[in-house]
């Protein structure tokens, strides 16, 4: 008798994703040929310079001369000098806090747009990104205007008679840096979380409801785990660049808000010790890479649900 499973299957047109390539084009030579301009550019302009940075970090600066004997002296200094350790750990602390604050504050926004945005999702996303389409520097500076001694907050509070003296704890410290960066990086956290939330199949939530989970359980047992790829991406996207941020600590951080990037800049600038600056950059880069990789490994079990 006819095997019905054989004749009644549905022909699916082949889906073409980033990595599944149609058969006619399995032509690696052409692939290499096409990828070579961007690859060469990155090799010459990024990989080679990075190698040079590592090399430079093994040399030493004697006033105006560069001593090219290989030594770990700079690294020893970078690790033993308490100031550098302090700056690095402060950078990591501040970035960590920024990441946490940004992602936690951003999640409900992404959730709202993805679940309740309806037909106006792109309008909401546009609304969220508009404030970021002006100069980064000016945006950061405006926070100084808001938080400053004669700033908007102090001005309003004193005008309302709520305080007599301007508040001073809101500017020139780590809090100001965290707040400002949480603002500056908001869309970079909202967008990836939004993308992973909007990919969740609504029928999964209905299934959970059908299995009599309440709204709260549904969120923690289905929505949150399924949106983890977006959350992890958001964390990395915010954390990595903020460790190296230079502008915000300089404008709003005061002395106890300065971060490692400011020190690297000083070494390349005023201190005229490029090798030490390179060593600091290398150390910072490796710590950031190590933290990011361990973070990905730790959250790996959430990432299996392909996003």
């Amino acid at each position: 008798m006819a095997n019905s499973s054989e004749i009644s299957y549905l022909q699916q047109p082949a889906k073409r994703t980033f990595w599944s390539i149609p058969k006619a084009y399995q032509d690696s030579a052409r692939g290499y040929f096409l990828i070579s301009p961007p690859l060469l550019y990155s090799l010459v302009m990024l990989a080679a310079p990075l190698v040079l940075v590592v090399l430079l970090s093994l040399w030493t600066q004697n006033y105006l001369e560069l001593d090219r004997t290989i030594t770990l002296k700079n690294y020893v200094e970078a690790v033993t000098e308490p100031l550098y350790g302090l700056l690095i750990s402060r950078s990591l602390m501040i970035s960590g806090m920024v990441t946490l604050a940004t992602v936690i504050l951003a999640y409900p926004i992404a959730y709202y747009v993805a679940m309740f945005g309806g037909k106006r999702k792109s309008m909401w996303l546009l609304l969220i990104t508009i404030p970021f389409w002006t100069s980064y520097l000016i945006r950061i500076f405006l926070w100084k205007v808001i938080l400053g001694y004669n700033g908007v907050i102090n001005g309003s509070l004193m005008g309302l008679g709520l305080i007599e003296e301007p508040l001073t704890f809101i500017l020139y410290n780590a809090n100001a840096v965290v707040l400002t960066l949480a603002h500056a990086w908001a869309p970079f956290a909202i967008l990836p979380i939004y993308v992973s939330l909007s990919r969740i199949d609504k029928s999964l939530l209905e299934a959970a409801r059908d299995l009599s989970d309440n709204a709260f359980q549904r969120f923690f047992r289905v929505t949150l785990p399924l949106s983890m790829p977006g959350v992890v991406a958001a964390c990395l996207i915010v954390f990595i660049p903020t460790v190296g941020d230079y502008v915000t600590p300089k404008l709003l951080g005061g002395t106890d808000g300065l971060m490692i990037a400011n020190m690297i800049q000083i070494q390349f600038g005023k201190a005229n010790n490029a090798p030490l600056g390179s060593a600091l950059a290398v150390v910072a880069m490796f710590i950031v890479a190590a933290i990011s990789i361990s973070f990905v490994l730790l959250t790996r079990r959430f990432l299996k649900t392909k996003g």
Partner: protein, 366 residues
């Protein structure tokens, strides 16, 4: 119609195609005749698309050769082959309107504007899309897109038109209509059509000849009628329609006829062009519509057997019965048209079923 002497337009010789460890085509040899409507039929993954893509030039065989119009195609890229393709997704250029899509391949001929327009309109008229030229292509329905794809390929006046499951994206009604229309169109233009399909009904309706493929091999190449009536083997028989397989024993055999004893049914004399050893075990097949329920337990037909209804499926115009033959454990499927006055038997009902010797066909056990 196609005479047997028509010369082959496509010759495929021992074509093999491997993708890494997957063998998609495993030594395919076949000829496609000029002017015929040829179908490649087979289950998913049997290599139909691969064969079509080799003919069109988007894939090259791992070994073996392909000739189109007598010319070796080994070094010929798709844009220089005398074939054109109707893609499964239709591949209508979304940035061009209907007329620009249809005229796409003619552009390099640098025809005068009026001539180009005339040919485009002619091609559109051929597929019943007169006046659709200025339409934006994204504003077309599935059936219209399919016609645009057809017109775009036909305007090139190819020697062979290749169609990869062109109807699978259409709904059932439209598909039925397009099957007839495609067949009519092929007869009008006289171009060789090669159709890929996994739908046996579609292949039977439209084709002059069909190649049934399994696992990268051609299992049988025949006319629709031969395929249905005399399937070469068990796989072909069960892929095309429904077939009852019943074991039998050879009683005697000569060069013209064969006497067999069919298990639970009895002796029958069949025409045969092959000789079998007396006493050999063979399998015979019979289609459900070749068995007829007589609606009476006692009816006396020379060639008939007693049957008990085991289950039935009611299809409106038809009823399919699963019956047990002569109280043995051998089952058969029988289809009956629900004509006026014919009752639908309930499971458990006893009846007689008549058959004719020439309805049986011998099935090779491959």
């Amino acid at each position: 119609m196609i005479s047997n002497s028509a010369k082959p337009i496509i010759e495929i010789k021992n074509v093999e195609k491997r993708f890494g460890s997957v063998t998609a085509l495993d030594g395919v040899t076949l000829d496609i005749k000029e002017g015929e409507f040829f179908s490649l039929l087979g289950p998913s993954g049997c290599g139909k698309t691969t064969l079509l893509r080799i003919i069109s030039g988007f894939d090259f065989p791992t070994s073996g050769s392909l000739y189109i119009g007598g010319e070796d195609m080994a070094e010929v890229p798709p844009n220089l082959r005398p074939t054109n393709m109707v893609f499964q997704s239709y591949a209508i250029f979304p940035h061009l309107n209907v007329a620009e899509n249809v005229g796409y391949g003619l552009k390099k001929l640098k025809l005068p504007k009026a001539e180009l327009e005339r040919r485009v309109n002619e091609a559109l008229a051929l597929v019943d899309l007169k006046g659709f030229g200025p339409r934006e292509s994204h504003a077309l329905s599935g059936g219209q897109r399919q016609r645009v794809a057809l017109a775009r390929a036909l305007i090139m006046q190819p020697k062979v038109l290749l169609l990869d499951e062109p109807l699978s994206a259409l709904d059932k009604k439209l598909r039925d209509a397009m099957q007839i229309e495609l067949r009519r169109l092929q007869q009008t233009v006289g171009i060789t059509f090669v159709l890929v399909t996994h739908d046996q009904e579609e292949a039977l309706i439209m084709s002059d000849r069909i190649a049934v493929m399994f696992d990268g091999k051609v299992s049988q190449l025949d006319t629709p009628e031969k395929l249905y009536r005399r399937p070469a083997n068990r796989r072909v028989a069960s892929f095309i329609g429904v077939m009852n397989f019943i074991p039998a024993k050879v009683v005697s055999s000569n060069s013209k006829s064969l006497v067999i004893d069919i298990t639970a049914i009895g002796k029958a004399t069949l025409d045969a062009d092959e000789q079998y050893a007396a006493g050999a075990d063979i399998t015979v097949g019979i289609r459900p519509e070749m068995l007829t329920i007589l609606y009476s337990e006692t009816a006396d037909d020379k060639d008939s057997f007693a049957a008990t209804v085991n289950a039935r499926s009611y299809y409106g115009d038809m009823t399919y019965y699963d019956v047990r033959i002569n109280d043995t454990n051998i089952h058969a499927t029988i289809s009956m048209r629900n004509t006026a006055g014919r009752p639908v038997l309930a499971p458990g009902a006893k009846t007689r079923v008549s058959w004719r010797p020439d309805s049986f066909t011998i099935i090779a056990n491959v």
